[in-house]
Symmetry: C2
Subunit: 98 residues, 2 copies
DNA sequence: TTATTATATGAACACACATTCATATTTCAA
DNA sequence: TTGAAATATGAATGTGTGTTCATATAATAA
């Protein structure tokens, strides 16, 4: 990969990384990494308030990192594609090597 | 990978992603991705002010994402390890797929 | 020494955004 | 309908940080 990508690409990379670089959102992404989960399930597993989880789910949705499916009163969230997992894995590996 | 990593891991992941999620720092990392470069070279290639580049190099250095070598009045920076490139690649690929 | 080049640093400002609290909306059951 | 459960939203606040400007430090040459 020769040279620095153009500004638009860099901008989009910055945006994606910004979305990913948040404690609550990281937990949410892991919470749905093995399949769709309802908001209630995510709230329980992440251990944050319902409001915060809902706000952050909206951020993830707006960035197209998650998909939704509605069923009755519940909404099920899942990761939009495999790149997200790949990103989490690369970062996880960097962090867990002494 | 079963379950959400513990809070400390998530914290460190957040930190790394935070460092990476900046327009100027992304450009700097690309500028030194093919080998060490002096601050002056980086300033020229990135197209930001000397002060800004120096400030952001300090951020990258503090996070151990870059290494330095001093030679006379010049300081040469290079990426600390291959994880950084791997991270950039994953993000780049995500962004450049329609 | 003095001058010049290369790099680093400190203060200040502006702006973005994560979180909380309160409330609204939706869906379904009784 | 009324009530309860699940989810979403809006406002307000506090904190973090990217950038600029001015200046400091370090190294070398003349």
């Amino acid at each position: 990969m020769p040279g620095i990508p153009n500004d638009q690409i860099i901008d989009e990379m910055e945006s994606l990384l910004n979305i990913a670089s948040d404690f609550t959102r990281l937990k949410i992404m892991y919470a749905i990494s093995e399949g769709e989960r309802s908001v209630g399930d995510i709230v329980a597993e992440v251990g944050a308030s319902q409001s915060l989880v809902s706000h952050q789910l909206k951020v993830l949705r707006k960035a197209n990192l998650v998909s939704t499916r509605k069923d009755g009163t519940r909404v099920y969230y899942s990761l939009a594609d495999d790149h997200v997992i790949a990103l989490l894995n690369v970062v996880y590996e960097h962090v867990t090597e002494e």
